[in-house]
Amino acid sequence: MSRLEISRRRFLQSSVIAGISITLAPLGSKAFAALFEAQVTAAPQPWFGPNRTARFRIDGVSKACGEKVFARDIRAMDMPGWPQQQGHAMLLKATNVDQLYAGLDLSMLGPQLQPDRIVTAQDLQQDGIAWPESHGPDPLLPEGQVAMFYGHPVALLIWKDYERFREAKGLLKYNQQAVRYGVKAPRYQTDPYGSFRYVRVGGVDAFAPDTFSSLKDSMLFPIIRQRKPVWSQQALINGDLTEQGLYYAGQMLQQLQSPPDDWLVFDEQYKTQSVEPAALEADNGNGWYDPQSKTLHFVVATQCPFEVAEQTAHMLAPSRFAVEKLNMHPGYTVGYGSKYNNIFVFYAALAAMYGDGTPIRLANDRYEQFQSGIKRHAFDMHYQLAVNKQDQTFQIMRTEMSLDGGGRANYSSSVAAVGATAAQSIYYFPQSDMAATAYHSCGVEAGSMRGYGTLQSMAATEMMVDDVAERLGVDAIELRRKNMLRSGMKNTQGAIPAGALRLGELLDKAAAHELWRDRVARKQRMDQEDPDNLYGVGFAIVQKDFGTGAEAPMASVEFTADGQVKLRQIAIDMGTGMATSQALLVADFIGQPAHEIRTGETEWPELGLITSGNPYIISQADQDTNLRNPRWVGKLASASSATNSSYFSGHATREAARVLFNHGLWPAALSIWGQGIYGGAANPYVLRREDAHWVDGSLTANGMQPLPFAQLAKKAHELGLVTGASVHGFNRWAWAEAEFEINSALDRVPLDALAVKYGEGAAPDKRALMTTAGYHLLDRRSVKYPDTQLNNAMVTYYSPVATLVEVKVNKGTGAVKVLNHHSWLECGRVIVPELVLGQLEGGIAMGIGHALLEELPLYEGGPGDGTWNFNRYQLPRASDVAVWQQTAEILPPLSASDPAKGIAEVVMIPVVGAIVNAVAQATGKRLRELPLSPARIKEALNG
């Protein structure tokens, strides 16, 4: 979920931001290839097979052959029109947060190795660089100030050639003399980044209207005093919404403190650690500023190319550089969140600007990546749960969480909010009070990372529920079953989750699995046979949201007269394989996957969209007013994050393809079937669009002759029907809808912008309508946007995953070995099974790392000092993940019309809870602090 401030700006047809025109040509795209004669690797065999399956990833061949697909692979000589010489830059950083920064001393480099250009805070100010506010202040620490955090950059150093750069860097690395410090100073402090509270009191039952909730009434926001959240308001049942909320919260606290006799009150503290996403591709950018044409050419690794382009343009517009054009080239990338809303890209852009006409590459080595790459820091969570001992139903859940938000605001505030609203995991609570605050610290910058707070909070909930089951003396899966959310019940914000909740199915399968059924007997046997180890089995289940609450997917599908299908998508493929799955989705309505796909596309002149305001905080009145302009949308474009590709990107892809079917291929089919006297072979039958089916790439309906797609495409062009559609959607936990008139038919669709292309055979008057970048831009009517109040729902789309894990704990070392694990996943419709299972396998590995191996010191001795690498930060290897034994099951969809739900984050979470629960069965000890390092386990076993 993004709290990114979107300032007022216009997105005109010519893609001009702040006076700078922007074009985007992603690496590996045909558009990029068109820039120069380089060959784009074409697959020797077609990537899709019969029945709309993917035989392999669309980008598979390039990747397997080591082609230049990452921005990091690019050098100046690869880029058409760039000078051949490649320069290099590095950032010098402050590693002392207790003394004032007193300037640089580069004398150890000697005269030969001095940088060709040094950029400091003073330069940025003098040159009018408008650093993005959300990534400020002080991108480069001014002299005389104390660093805001460990690793705060003080200067950008640029060399125009590699050899001097590498020699200089070798001397500067770990050199304590280069950055000088003066007098001691108090550490930098600032207010918490955000604080949120969600109070809910259900009505007479789970389905009745709530007495109080975030969605129905309000979220609660404290004021900040002396850098802490405090409640200045009173608790009043008849007060304003905040006062009412505080009243109910107070009632809950009282009940927890003086519970009735038949309640069990669980009250414990859970802690997580500081972790590093450790994407193997470290942050990087390579840019060339051409002063002649006033163009910045920028190759960059990012999950949000659209935002980067805009923010870079805004940053440079007021500067003395007088930039007129920005050519951005996003590469394939990988980030798990860490390349989203990442400050690094702006340093890279500046390196290019100050390169004095030489292309400059700024690329972190692994030490630098640990030092500045986005982290997810520690959570400290106080959990209270009241349970009725008679029937084991949950009564009240209360949590207060503190997040270490690191040195800059980034997304920690949002992570706090999402973490708090996810803590409920799969359970229904008649009453709940969930609060979270994200604080500044002098740790390295923290932000978005896979899980986004739900990893920390939900894993802890699963540890708690397991613990409660033990205290009640009941089966842990049974207890979950008793309390699981059922379809139509409300979440802790008072919103109703989307669709069918199939949690019972997952629980039933887990309960029936032999690992669970036989765990006690198995443990007895294993402990006896192998007295050096303690054996245990653990279970956990979670459901996690996908989407940010302000999703804005865009897609464009068109087909040529000879049957070539092209797809354009705004989303970026960061290894998820979305390029492949989106290309396949097109076949839902066209019978044919896309032959060509361009991802990371940010030129959409045919839609002419504009936006203003922030979709999360805009008032209902303002939204209503803005919507009168048919070009206005609540948000321009989604980044690739929040597990949003299969459902949200897929929505746009499918709706675009559906338009082509409804207004292009179907009428073409009717025309062919109706040929001849008296309406031909079609006449005797009743033909309905909803009875149409694609079978082996051919269209049939109600017994009509199957027509191959290619034939239909040709006909559609001949008749001048709709052969291309560009769409935009908006989702705030529900889709915006509007009516569009297409060929005199009025269609109500879940889109807020639509432009169409007519086929080659279209009549002149039809052709005359295509005035917007070759498209006919339609004006929407009767647009209905999701109410702004829905922002308080915080989440309604969920996918569940359950994991059973088998471990052994060594009595000597305290090391935990994962012996085996089995997972169940429900994600609606699966587009490409190998991609879904791959996400599960990878997510579980990351979860195992989180549970057992990965940890960073937060401050002194932590990665901010520039000395960390994978020797100390332990990533899971194949030997850690039961690589040969593990199994998984994807539940079949309810029907063919299930949506494709997002799963890329949820897959990482249950294994964490399951491991802790397994260790509990193994050792008899409930550990509440992650990771379960050998030291922590030994302490628990011995003390």
Binding site: Y174, D532, N533, K811, G812, A815, N871, R872
Partner: protein, 401 residues
């Protein structure tokens, strides 16, 4: 009966307190004596035995000393335990092989042995036998050790303590007795016994040198009291890192001892008023021998990726060559061994962990290895003489384990 129970109940807390503090003391002393290093394997329960100890006489297995009645020492009394530890006598009367360092533990204080015994008795009994030790003839005849014990069993003497501080005396006890450092660091005679007239002057174990711990030798190799204490505590100091057989000493033993005890050991080894530690300045390439100059390129090709082009190392990743104690050992067998065999991944204290050092036996022929050794010794080791080709081949042929 009730009166007795009452008395017992009244007594118990104090008794418990005394008992639990004896157990705590015993736990600490077991660390100092490093019992677990030989009486466990990498993945066994603590003290459950099974570690193979290679000796010139065959493989000896560490025994199960958990209080298991079937496979451990569950039937031992405190006397039995003391007899085993100080005299090498099993409860059934058989001799232990001196792989069990009773020759050093010989001078253990009775109350310390009792405390360790009390601690061991609180452990979880592990019902699993350690592998049987069976050496080849005649070493399988344990009774033969009685004669050996007569000659060598009680030879360890502690130096006179008059005029020495408590810290020094504590250090002596930790080094000579509990820490049994002499078992590796003292040369042995042909009968395999420590040569008490050359105590702590260095020994060769399985191809590696446990170097001399004499004060003047330590100083020559760059040690000072503070760094030696740090080395005990963390396994890493400016002088390098613990590796090979010394690493388990950190892992199982010295990291758990108190700062006071680290300082005591340093004081004992270096003396109460140690002299200055030797400073060796880096020698420029042009001043080195021809062989050493040739070795520079191999250093850059194979070593500099981690140890850095000018030998400065990478903090927390690879030790520096400058100031490294192993480079200063005139007997370069350790340097040769680590270059040939590498070092396994090692977890130090806190977050410190070093990745494996690769072994370069296949990448360097004898001539290249000689050049590289000379480069290292001369540039940073303060050892200006070339090693000869026969010396290198000889050392190389004495494989480590």
């Amino acid at each position: 009966m009730r009166n007795l129970l009452l008395v017992t109940v009244l007594f118990s807390p104090a008794l418990f307190a005394a008992q639990s503090s004896e157990v705590e003391r015993g736990a600490y002393l077991a660390r100092a004596a490093d019992c677990v290093a030989c009486h466990s394997t990498d993945d066994s329960a603590p003290y459950a035995g099974g570690l193979p100890l290679e000796s010139p006489f065959g493989t000896i297995y560490g025994t199960n000393i958990t209080p298991d009645k079937e496979f451990g020492i569950g039937n031992y009394t405190a006397d039995d335990f003391y007899n085993a530890v100080a005299h090498g006598k099993r409860a059934d009367g058989a001799n232990l092989y001196p792989a069990m360092p009773y020759t050093s533990y010989h001078l253990i204080k009775r109350e310390d042995s009792d405390a360790i015994y009390a601690f061991l008795m609180t452990l979880e009994p592990i019902n699993r036998p350690a592998p049987e030790t069976s050496l080849s003839f005649p070493f399988n005849l344990r009774f033969g050790l009685s004669f050996w014990n007569m000659l060598y069993g009680s030879e360890l003497q502690l130096a006179p303590t008059t005029g020495k501080s408590e810290q020094w005396q504590r250090g002596e006890y930790l080094v000579e007795v509990l820490g049994h450092c002499g078992e590796c660091h003292t040369p042995r005679n042909v009968a395999g016994a420590m040569q008490q007239d050359k105590t702590l002057q260095g020994g060769v174990i399985l191809g590696y040198l446990a170097p001399s711990l004499k004060a003047e030798d330590l100083l020559a190799r760059g040690w000072n009291s503070e760094d030696l204490a740090t080395f005990m505590a963390h396994g890493i100091s400016d002088q390098g890192s613990m590796f090979n057989e010394m690493y388990p000493v950190l892992h199982h033993s010295t990291q758990y001892l108190s700062l006071g005890d680290h300082q005591a050991m340093a004081t004992y080894l270096l003396g109460e008023q140690p002299g200055p530690s030797a400073v060796i300045s880096t020698q420029p390439l042009a001043t080195l021998s021809e062989s050493a100059q040739r070795g520079r390129q191999d250093y850059l090709n194979l070593c500099a990726g981690c140890h850095a082009a000018e030998g400065q190392g990478v903090p927390h990743v690879a030790v520096a060559m400058r100031g490294n104690t192993t480079l200063r050992q005139a007997d370069s067998r350790n340097l040769l061994r680590v270059i040939d065999d590498g070092i396994a991944e090692q977890q130090f204290t806190g977050f410190e962990r070093m990745q494996p050092m690769p072994g370069f036996a296949d990448q360097l022929d004898d001539g290249q290895l000689r050049d590289l050794l000379n480069y290292l010794r001369q540039t940073w080791g303060g050892l200006p003489e070339d090693m000869t080709a026969p010396q290198v081949s000889e050392l190389r042929s004495q494989k480590g384990h």
